[in-house]
């Protein structure tokens, strides 16, 4: 793993504007990804995870979506300022995307093989038959016999369809794969197969992966680093060891407590109280303060800064900024 930044997002702001309100989907987000690294982006519905991924490829529908400020540097090139032709060259070639729902992300009237061949034909200088041959190889890579090249999506099961989508995304050996909840629609045993496949491919092609999920278990199995998102912001980021062993942000702590554990018997879960904030009307100060058990007055007014706690572990919370002493939380977090 080199230290060269493959992707760097700086101060990204994305909003969706409708006639009577503005949804603040992503708010001053900073994120970077090295080559060959896999980063898990975790958060609940509406946290802005998918919008972040879509904005990297400039796929946020405009209108209503609007990137109001920020930079997305891919190999030093700002994608937000890039021309349409350049983006076309990047999409599916250098950066590809795996969508959540394999049932709707394949075209029902083309055979699966031809759908994969299309990507190769468009991006690589080759003949159609060469593209088809390579597409057949890609099918084999993801564990589908190439005899099924001419079959249509409806003849495949959910797990197989997701493999086809994965084959399509790796067909041009991209540097970065954005996977938006790639296994959420699948059964656990099939999910395990797909995760294993993605792990193998990551090692084989040294691809970087941005894995969007709400499942902390999936992150633990696949990722090197993890970023926790809440209301359009990253509240905690670090290596999986740092975050899983020593979660610092009260939201992260709450997330871990909400999951029933397999290895210990608890009588009651300790969920985070309240609901996700309304993205059209976000709370002032720290966005988590209305649900936070440790909120103090300052939290309602001032935005905490990203503070480095240890190593690469960064948290956005006053408690870890050292400005306030909350011994109670410190004990709880331990």
């Amino acid at each position: 793993m080199t230290d060269r930044k493959l992707l760097e997002i700086r101060n990204l702001n994305v909003e969706y504007r409708t006639d009577d309100e503005i949804v603040y989907a992503v708010n001053s987000l900073d994120l970077s990804l090295n080559s060959g690294e896999s980063l898990g982006l975790v958060g609940e519905t509406g946290a802005g995870k998918s919008t972040t991924a879509l904005s990297i490829l400039q796929l946020v529908a405009d209108p209503p979506g609007k990137t109001t400020s920020g930079e997305i540097l891919f190999e030093g090139e700002d994608l937000l300022k890039a021309k349409k032709d350049f983006l076309r060259h990047i999409r599916g070639n250098k950066i590809s995307m795996i969508f959540q729902d394999p049932m709707t992300s394949l075209n029902p009237v083309y055979s699966v093989g031809d759908q994969i061949a299309e990507v190769i034909y468009l991006h690589e200088k080759c003949s159609k038959s060469e593209a088809q041959q390579k597409a057949a190889e890609m099918l084999e890579t993801v564990g589908i016999p190439k005899e099924r090249y001419d079959e249509y999506p409806h003849q495949f099961s959910g797990g197989m369809k997701q493999r086809v989508v994965i084959a399509m995304s790796i067909a041009c050996s991209p540097q970065l794969i954005l996977a938006d909840e790639p296994t959420t629609a699948l059964d656990v045993t099939i999910q395990a197969q797909v995760l294993e496949l993605m792990n193998d491919l990551k090692v084989k092609f040294n691809t970087s992966l941005l894995l969007i999920t709400h499942d902390l278990g999936v992150v633990a199995q696949v990722c090197d680093r993890v970023a926790i998102m809440y209301a359009g912001e990253i509240v905690e980021i670090g290596t999986v060891e740092e975050v899983f062993e020593n979660p610092k942000h009260p939201y992260t702590v709450g997330l871990f407590r909400s999951i029933p554990q397999l290895d210990e018997k608890v009588d009651r879960l300790k969920p985070i109280k309240g609901q996700m904030p309304d993205p059209t009307n976000l709370p002032s100060g720290c966005k988590f303060h209305p649900r936070c058990p440790h909120a103090i007055e300052a939290c309602t007014k001032i935005q905490p800064a990203m503070t480095n706690v240890k190593g690469t572990h960064i948290v956005k919370c006053f408690i870890h900024e050292g400005k306030f002493e909350s011994t109670e939380l410190m004990e709880e977090v331990k």
């Binding site: 609940e44 519905t45 099961s157 959910g158 797990g159 197989m160 059964d187 656990v188 045993t189 099939i190 999910q191 395990a192 197969q193 995760l195 294993e196 709400h214 499942d215 902390l216 278990g217 999936v218 992150v219 633990a220 199995q221 999986v240 060891e241 899983f244 062993e245 709450g254 997330l255 871990f256 407590r257 909400s258 999951i259 029933p260 554990q261 397999l262 290895d263 018997k265 608890v266 009651r268 879960l269 300790k270 969920p271 985070i272 109280k273 609901q275 996700m276």
Partner: protein, 323 residues
């Protein structure tokens, strides 16, 4: 047998499809004690939801018995089933599809009360609806809201309030938390647990999420392609997993612990078709331990002590291997 609120015996449900007969539920038997929770686990298409619907009389069983308080639901006529719904309710998976978008929250929760003429005056209905909203933790300001104004967690609470409105003894929970976010999921699970303690409810908890089911259930039954393959007390099942399918299912769960990497029991291929299945173990084609004796004749659940049942033909050998 008084304490078994529900007893299912040799239940079968076959659907006719153009390619043959689809065996959605094939010879399933289990029972649930009053005040307990049975978790029914399996992958999509294994027939778990069909069982839930059969119990409510929403499907007509092909054969078998479903005894609820000693009475066979399969033999009931429409009027009897209508009466039975006062005791037997369901919480559906999708809180977005199971609420009528043209009714207010108050109307949705109050509808069962009107249908069963449980209230006489409007004021009485109103106060009962408010009480139910209070029980499930819904703020009363939503009484005149429509479902689209609520988020998933609150909608599921509406579904729970509606199921509770007739004060039932038994609730079928069909994946009640799978469409919710983790932090909201935990809130709803806690609510269901509190309600069970308060009203002495019995649950059939249908889910594909094993960590949820372990947290929630007293007993767990694992289904594969329409048949039960293993059943035991919740702790027992996780401690002493016998059936290769259950082992594979357990090992496939991604654990949120970085030191515990998946040691996956590999499965060959994917779930096979439940249309015209051949006799014998339906899991055999994907099983690592399959032998000739696994196919050819239908299997029965055998008792392994501690009311632990398993249908695997090689269970005895496997037990010795895994222990």
């Amino acid at each position: 047998m008084v304490d078994n609120i529900l007893e299912v015996r040799n239940l079968k449900k076959h659907f006719k499809s153009k390619n043959g007969t689809l065996h959605a539920v094939d010879d399933v038997s289990f029972s649930i004690k009053r005040g307990q929770t049975l978790g029914l686990v399996g992958e999509s298409g294994c027939g778990k939801s069909t069982i839930g619907r059969l119990i409510l009389g929403l499907h007509q069983a092909t054969s078998g018995e479903i005894l609820f308080n000693g009475q066979d639901i399969c033999k009931m006529n429409k009027a009897q089933i209508h009466n039975l719904r006062k005791e037997l309710q369901i919480i559906f998976q999708d809180p977005f599809a199971s609420l009528n978008p043209r009714m207010t929250i108050g109307e949705i929760i109050g509808e069962p009360l009107l249908i069963y003429k449980k209230v006489k005056r409007r004021a009485e209905l109103d106060s009962e609806v408010r009480r139910l909203m209070d029980v499930v933790g819904l703020s009363k300001r939503f009484i005149n809201s429509y479902p689209h104004e609520l988020d998933g967690g609150r909608r599921q609470r509406v579904g729970i309030a509606r199921a509770l409105s007739l004060n039932p003894q038994f609730i079928v929970c069909d994946e009640p938390v799978s469409s919710l976010d983790v932090s909201i999921q935990a809130q709803v699970l806690n609510l269901l647990k509190d309600l069970q303690a308060e009203y002495g409810l019995t649950y059939l908890f249908i889910t594909h999420d094993l960590s949820v089911v372990k947290y929630f259930s007293d007993k767990i039954a694992v289904m594969y392609l329409g048949q039960l393959v293993e059943g035991a007390e919740s702790d027992e099942l996780f401690k002493k997993t016998i059936h290769p399918y259950t082992q594979a299912l357990l090992s496939a769960i991604p654990v949120p612990n970085i030191h515990q990497k998946m040691k996956r029991v590999k499965l060959i291929g994917e779930i096979t078709s439940p249309i015209n299945p051949e006799p014998g173990c339906r899991f055999a084609k994907r099983c690592l331990y399959a032998q000739e004796k696994c196919v050819g004749q239908d299997l029965e659940l055998k008792d392994f002590g501690n009311s632990h049942f398993c249908s695997c033909t090689r269970a005895d050998e496997l037990l010795n291997v895994t222990l």
